[in-house]
């Protein structure tokens, strides 16, 4: 795997995890009904 691809996947996976967590919190808050 090329260096740039490894770096790209690392960036995308990290940001995906962080903003995925933010989205999960948003959904959990809405499900709580407030």
């Amino acid at each position: 795997m090329s260096e740039a691809l490894v770096v790209g996947i690392t960036f995308a996976a990290s940001y995906g995890l962080i903003f995925g967590y933010a989205a999960y919190l948003h959904v959990r808050r809405r499900k709580t009904g407030r």
């Binding site: 260096e3 490894v6 770096v7 690392t10 960036f11 940001y15 962080i18 933010a22 919190l25 808050r29």
Partner: protein, 235 residues
């Protein structure tokens, strides 16, 4: 909720700017493209330290004041800290595999102490999940949160205290060991990640408060539940 969305938007703009600058900075002569991983690895490590520091602050505040908001602050910050410690560990392993030739070494003080810190705070979250009573849960986790923070300076200074494969701090009182372009991109990412942390902390505390109120409403409804038809007939 609006506050969280504004902060998330600001953080996204900061991360896009920092990411763009990081990807456009010239690659390191020895590490090549892999040097760009610092733009995620260093801000994540910084947030782990900040988050566990805030957990200790919330824990001590709860032990003094006994207000539920301090427990919510401590627990929310610990959860976010675990997320960012996990990211710091994995990005460090990817970088280590490429640059050191090995992803992990238990003999290295920085790597081992970070892993221990990760598992201790994972244990903190597990402890909370096993206790139903809010006061008992708050007291036990506050004690752990106040004690566990001693690991933060230990992890940070582990590269100075012991011989480590991990490099020492790049930003020192006498200046930086990094080229300006790399340093600028990394600092913008550190600021953007810090804004992101504040947004996630507000969002997580909001969830904790809403769930706590829903639990209380459920408990109240249970207490005033009308008798069943059969129970009325029996009387």
């Amino acid at each position: 909720m609006k506050r969280v969305q504004i902060l998330l938007g600001l953080a996204a703009v900061g991360i896009a700017t920092g990411g763009w600058l990081g990807l456009n900075a010239p690659p390191d002569a020895l590490q090549g493209e892999y040097s760009r991983i610092i733009n995620v690895h260093v801000p994540s490590s910084w947030l782990a330290f900040l988050a566990f520091g805030v957990t200790a602050f919330g824990s001590i505040a709860w032990l003094i004041r006994r207000k539920p908001k301090w427990d919510r602050l401590a627990a929310s910050s610990a959860e976010i800290g675990v997320l960012f410690t996990g990211i710091a560990l994995v990005t460090g392993m990817i970088w280590g595999h490429a640059v050191w030739g090995r992803a992990w070494d238990w003999g290295d003080p920085r790597l081992a102490s970070t892993a221990v810190m990760f598992f201790v705070y994972l244990g903190y979250l597990a402890l909370r999940a096993t206790i139903d009573d809010p006061t008992v849960r708050a007291r036990r986790s506050a004690l752990l949160g106040a004690i566990a923070v001693v690991q933060v300076p230990l992890v940070y200074f582990s590269v100075n205290l012991w011989r480590s494969l991990h490099q020492t701090q790049s930003i020192r009182p006498d200046g930086s060991t990094m080229p300006d372009e790399m340093l600028r991109a990394m600092l913008i990412n550190v600021i953007a990640f810090t804004i992101l942390y504040v947004a996630l902390l507000y969002a997580r505390m909001g969830v904790a408060k809403a769930e706590s109120e829903a639990d209380q409403r459920g408990a109240s409804a249970e207490r005033v539940k009308p008798p069943l038809v059969d129970e009325v007939r029996d009387v």
